[in-house]
Symmetry: C2
Subunit: 173 residues, 2 copies
Amino acid sequence: MERISSKTVYEGRIVDIRIEEFRYDDGETAEREIAVHPGAVGIVAHDGETLYLVRQPREAVGEPALLEVPAGKLDVEGETPLECAQRELGEEIGMKAASWSELKRFYTTPGFAQEEVTLYLATGLEEIPGHEPDPDERLELVRWPLADLDAAIEECADSKTLIGLLLLRQSLG
Amino acid sequence: MERISSKTVYEGRIVDIRIEEFRYDDGETAEREIAVHPGAVGIVAHDGETLYLVRQPREAVGEPALLEVPAGKLDVEGETPLECAQRELGEEIGMKAASWSELKRFYTTPGFAQEEVTLYLATGLEEIPGHEPDPDERLELVRWPLADLDAAIEECADSKTLIGLLLLRQSLG
């Protein structure tokens, strides 16, 4: 499969939209509408007793506050996904982690969007002294007991958070 | 939180883009760029021995064939998510199921898109005689041994499929 043409038809704040034409190995061609997205990271952060989640308004889906892992877009030039995750953990919940490992990479909705999410497990947590949350983010920090992980999975309606918590559930046995 | 304005800035084949303004309970306002999407369904179908998956080109993410559960958009007027799932199971893998249950509802990427996915578990499978796959869909049916579920989770890079397979993994113990 090769891309034979690409035309940007919308330039937005989070996504651009491109109409692209592809040729398959058998010679047939097809046009696709693609939402171009820089990708994102999500962080499953816990200290063995508490899971650090956030609630954040999600206007796109009409939900006042979805339960999610700390996360962010790869919107800083030159930053790696791990560096982005380390920055977001600090900005969103005011913590740093001694240990980072990659849990999974996946596409949120590969039928129309490029967005790839890299999920990390962050442990060895330590509070950053003097951290002030960004009031523009409208983030509420949620300290969720790790013993109630199944209830978080039940409530959660965000794909990256569900995948992160289900993988954590599996690793905890 | 209430929506106080909405303007469509792009009308596409899969998504429209709207710029919407919201007012929060504290009186502050914010603009958001939202990809309007009809929603989708995914089907975790197995017969106790075999899991029925598909491989399909995903041009948006540059992957020639992603391993996925059968799935489809809610693009038929008046069709419920369950009816859509039953139709897609027939169209994509030529099967019907005696037993359907809802596994989970979630948003694929609530930071910018409306898309909600309803995942179903379909069991009591039976082949539809004379089924011919749609050549335009470029779908390859994959009969995956249920005993190798962990390997499917390892390979999978599609959010709805990962969530469905991880929930199945948890229910099988």
